[in-house]
């Protein structure tokens, strides 16, 4: 049977409320800048961006499931495709490609050639350790955790540091069995 899940997120993106991307990009940029001033340590900024992303991901997954019409993924491979083709499209209006699966099928890379977070951004030399887009990895980690997948998400390539694309490595650490906290007859 053919999967019912949409192959791309175009239709969903067209149907959600959208805003001017400049406002989003500049807000994120101004926030990162203020965090660098206030927290001083680049590592601490990375950590806070990841935490913010995680909190956003935990909430965003609900909206994703409610609006995207995606049903339960049969395996981690399908999960990867759904994130790349539907998830990124629905929220950021871009698509990612899924590459570099490991032999066990538990880790893959998401490659972004286009990324609205970084329009107008250049990093000064003092920010070499900064993962400017760390909020994205946090979002993925938070969202996946809500659907029972513990993951580790790390940056492999970053155009702000001179690479030719953005590459996120997503590694499945543990599939948490679902537990129902309620009784059947309630």
């Amino acid at each position: 049977m053919a999967p019912l899940a949409p192959k791309t997120g175009d239709a969903v993106f067209a149907s959600v409320d959208r805003v001017n991307a400049e406002l989003f990009t500049l807000t994120y940029g101004a926030m990162v800048r203020q965090l660098l001033t206030d927290l001083e340590e680049v590592d601490e900024v990375n950590k806070q961006l990841d935490q913010m992303g995680y909190n956003i991901g935990v909430r965003l997954i609900d909206e994703f499931l409610a609006k995207s019409n995606v049903s339960r993924c049969v395996d981690f491979k399908e999960t990867a495709d759904v994130i790349a083709k539907v998830g990124f499209k629905m929220f950021l209006g871009i698509t990612a490609s899924v590459t570099s699966w490991d032999a066990e099928g538990t880790s893959f890379s998401l490659v972004l050639e286009d990324n609205p977070l970084v329009d107008f951004v250049e990093l000064p030399d003092t920010c070499q350790g900064l993962h400017y887009c760390n909020i994205l990895s946090g979002v993925l980690r938070g969202a996946l955790e809500m659907v029972s997948m513990k993951t580790e998400v790390t940056w492999v390539r970053d155009m702000l540091h001179g690479d030719d694309a953005y590459e996120l490595r997503v590694k499945l650490l543990k599939q948490v069995p679902e537990e129902y906290p309620y009784k059947d007859d309630e």
Partner: protein, 176 residues
Amino acid sequence: MGREVAESCIDGVIIEMVSAYCKRFYATKPELAARRIEAIGYQVGHQLIERYTVERPRFSDHLEAIKFICKDFWSELFKKQIDNLKTNHRGTFVLQDNRFRWLTRVSIDPSLDISEASQDSSAVTPENKAAEATSMHLYFPCGIIRGALSNLGIPCAVSADISNLPACSFVVRVKA
């Protein structure tokens, strides 16, 4: 139409920014958290207005600049204009948005306005905790307006009044 992203993206970033500053970095110093959030807004307003005014002549007076904020600038940000503009013609302008987008998803107690909430921290009740949390969300748009106007050569102070929810009024006081 330029590039767009889902509204949930900007909502998420603003909610987390406010929460990080108020609950993690400056949990015991709300006035410092407020200043930082306002500063982020200022930066955003300053940069945005630059982009939206590139190809137009200079504004001849304050009122013309404020009208631009109410119409073009607000439309770029919220896809609607400011609903009502009042002025005393002595440097104070009140910009009212009858349904301010960034407050429609925050639950609110309207008993305090932004200036009172930031000063009166002596009596901490759940009600004014909620009001304080809401007012924290208003420092960001206040900063955006102040940043935009100051880039147009109009130094001012901006505060917000939410006593008529879901309407929100931004009060601009131009510095003489």
